[in-house]
């Protein structure tokens, strides 16, 4: 479960997030919507620890993680630009988090293969990000985040770069991944149809506050 407790944050003297309160139950697929520039990405970055809130707390399973470093939170993050590591192959991208945890080589290879097969990117393991299509990049970013075995997955407009024909397939994949990994997901989108298709909980950020729809 994730709880946001009176989160405030601003930039350049302007308050962007003003008393954000929310509670997302475990194993829930939550959709976050809101106008461009309302602070959705900043909120995700506060949750995963890349940005410090001016005040307020972030709690994961009742544990206050506000002052923890991003690596200590157990949160997977797939940013809008995917931010794949430019010089690492798909195999190395997926193995990145397990390697940091010191997973043994044989176990590492098994994990990479399993995730690659689950996400349909097994034939791409030796490619660099530059040689991938938009949809393939999105799957690699997702596999990389899942390899860290997070409890919470933050997705920032993950389907925005895909064309209409691939969206339904990618959305079904996200749903499958959420179920199989028993994840709590917070998914930012501008698309009402995407929100309707995936969301179990619908949140809207407006005027710096978060409302349940």
């Amino acid at each position: 479960m994730i709880q946001l407790d009176h989160i405030r944050w601003g930039a350049a003297g302007r308050t962007i997030l003003d008393e954000v309160n929310a509670s997302i139950p475990a194993n829930t697929y939550a959709m976050l919507m809101g106008a461009t520039g309302c602070g959705k990405t900043s909120l995700l970055e506060i949750i995963c620890g890349l940005r410090k809130p001016t005040s307020g707390r972030v709690l994961l399973d009742d544990r206050d993680v506000t002052d923890l470093e991003p690596r200590e939170r157990g949160i997977g993050y797939v940013p809008q630009d995917l931010a794949l590591f430019p010089s690492l192959s798909v195999r190395e991208q997926i193995a990145f988090a397990p390697r940091r945890r010191g997973v043994a080589l044989a176990e590492l290879e098994t994990q990479v293969k399993h995730l690659a097969e689950q996400l349909g990117i097994a034939p791409l393991l030796d490619r660099l990000p530059d040689a991938l299509s938009g949809g393939e990049k999105q799957r690699v970013a997702l596999a990389r985040a899942l390899a860290a075995q997070p409890k919470l997955l933050l997705l920032d407009e993950p389907l925005s770069a895909l064309d209409e024909s691939m969206r339904a397939e990618a959305a079904a994949l996200l749903q499958q991944v959420q179920r199989e990994h028993a994840l709590t997901v917070l998914h930012v989108t501008h698309s009402r149809s995407e929100a309707a298709m995936l969301g179990q909980l619908h949140l809207r950020l407006a005027n710096g506050r978060l409302e349940v729809e």
């Binding site: 690596r71 940013p79 630009d81 931010a83 690492l88």
Partner: protein, 260 residues
């Protein structure tokens, strides 16, 4: 086809560029035609010049290596962090570039007369030593390497490093495992630029390390020493050799995709 004002403007700019390039080719061409195969052979057989060439290559490599080691952390800090006084620090990092070369040498010479400098020299002697040549080259080359590394990191998105932090990395691990592999070309470029800058360094070396033949003589010192005894042939050949090395470095840098 009629030439409009826009075409005339571009034509004028192209002529200025061509004129500038022609001027440089004339300079190099005149220098190249001044040398003869005989003078090249004489220079190649000179033990002093062979020593200076070897010393130049070794000291430039060390200076560029040290410059790169210092340029990576400073370039990363300047590119990724915003902090109070950053503008001033940025300007301070450029001091070796804007200082007259002789002044850099003089500063080094005076520093090693201070108590701290003398303590350092107890461990590693620098003044009028080969290590002094490396230090004099490093002082100026590092500023260029820092500029290059900062530009490299500026062009690389910080987002992958942010994601690495969520995947279990510390900030240092994100730099080591994500930023540095992505900055490989920039590192090659920074090394080459520092190397080329070190190769041309003369003023600080002359003041701080001296111009002792078979000891602290590097290629620019050779040009100066040969000119001072009226041996223009040898000075020209050594100069052309340095031009060739500089062109080679420029080609390597361009193949990395970086700009000097």
């Amino acid at each position: 086809m009629t030439l409009n004002r826009s075409h005339l403007c571009w034509l004028a700019l192209a002529l200025i560029t061509a004129g500038y390039l022609v001027f440089w080719f004339l300079l190099l061409g005149a220098t190249a035609t001044y040398s003869t195969p005989d003078s090249w052979l004489k220079v190649l057989h000179s033990a002093e010049i062979r020593h200076a060439t070897w010393l130049s290559i070794v000291t430039c490599t060390f200076a560029a290596g040290f410059a790169l080691l210092i340029a990576i952390p400073i370039g990363y800090l300047m590119s990724r962090r915003e902090f109070r006084g950053k503008t001033w620090l940025d300007a301070a990092l450029d001091i070796p570039i804007i200082l007259p070369p002789l002044v850099v040498g003089l500063c080094l010479l005076i520093f090693f007369q201070t108590r701290i400098g003398k303590a350092v020299e107890e461990i590693i002697p620098f003044t009028y030593q080969v290590s002094g040549v490396v230090l004099a080259q490093f002082v100026v080359a590092a500023a260029f390497a820092i500029r290059t590394m900062r530009g490299t990191f500026d062009h690389l998105s910080a987002r992958p490093e942010d994601v690495a932090l969520t995947l279990g990395c510390t900030r240092f691990q994100a730099l080591w495992h994500v930023a540095l592999p992505a900055a490989r070309r920039g590192m090659v470029a920074a090394f080459c630029i520092a190397w080329a800058r070190s190769l041309g360094e003369f003023g600080p070396i002359l003041v701080f390390a001296g111009a002792t033949r078979m000891k602290t003589e590097v290629l620019p010192t050779t040009v100066w020493l040969e000119l001072s005894v009226g041996n223009l042939d040898a000075a020209v050949v050594v100069s052309l050799f340095m031009v060739l090395l500089a062109v080679l470095v420029l080609v390597v840098v361009r193949t990395t995709g970086e700009k000097v």
